[in-house]
Symmetry: C2
Subunit: 182 residues, 2 copies
């Protein structure tokens, strides 16, 4: 099962493709798309679209996963993000792929085990779960990978198992919701 996560943004769109082999996940590819600084807003969207169309054709994932944004705090930046998100959904639909959505807290809960985890904690867990040498950067890449991992967990019921593997030291008692990587 191969999942393509997208963290859309008009300035920079992170993407990450993760595959499951048995009970393990491994990274297929990840990166970010950023248009030249001088590009207009429509040109940025075109850059994202062209990039994603190429990546989806290359990766041939089983589905695309994005974060839901209907819980926006900053309306202005959420509206800009929604433009880029529309482009991501379009690219997925053009590739004939279904799209799954998760709320930010669901993603953090599935990856870190705690719905209010910090960005740095998400990055650390992505590194750990994919066996990487370093935390993927910039954070949009780690976020895109986290979204893909979230879907892998949710589509296999593997959340509890993954969290248990990286749980608090023996002797301490914590619920999985409270789990945070050291």
């Amino acid at each position: 099962m191969k999942i393509f996560g997208i963290d859309p943004g008009s300035e920079r769109t992170g993407y990450g493709c993760v595959e499951r082999s048995g009970s393990r996940h491994h990274l297929v590819l990840c990166g970010s798309l950023a248009a030249p600084a001088a590009a207009t807003f429509p040109e940025r969207l075109q850059h994202i679209h062209k990039g994603l169309v190429g990546l989806l054709a290359e990766c041939r994932p089983d589905c695309v996963v994005v974060e839901s944004i209907f819980h926006a705090k900053n309306v202005r930046s959420a509206l800009k993000l929604a433009h880029a998100r529309g482009i991501a959904l379009l690219a997925a639909s053009e590739a004939g792929l279904c799209v799954h959505e998760y709320a930010p807290a669901e993603i953090k809960r599935a990856v870190v085990g705690y719905g209010r985890a910090e960005k740095a904690q998400v990055g650390q867990m992505v590194k750990l779960l994919l066996g990487l040498d370093a935390v993927p950067a910039p954070h949009d890449v780690a976020d895109a990978l986290a979204i893909a991992i979230c879907h892998l967990h949710n589509s296999t019921g593997a959340v509890a198992e993954t969290v248990a593997r990286h749980r608090a030291p023996r002797g301490t008692v914590r619920s999985w919701r409270e789990f945070r990587p050291s």
Copy 2:
């Protein structure tokens, strides 16, 4: 000068192309794009994209004009609209066209002469200015034409002239901002 106005929406996207010949405007084409009711959200965006790409290739306008949405009242519906708006901007950029934006009040002011005009007033003025037999329907179509007319006015400084032509009966004194069609 040929202007292509778009009123994006994930349920229905209105479009209208208006051309200026001398001091008069005339309608080139208008209509709306609506995906089948059973379509998913990404499929709707794909339907809009495909439709707009075809229409822009057919019309070959000088530019595309859309309403700005950074003054949203209902955040949830504005976020859905922003997805469709992203698709409209993408289609324009892919066609190599520049995009102009106007705030809702600017559009109403340019077409009706009053920034808080009702939708029905906008429709009536679009009918009048383009010499149509009826108000374009649904309202997304009239709105798309209004956006195109707004840009024609703003790019020629013809606002005052147009409003003066349709002004209040002789003897009454009104500023052009107060003008409303009967």
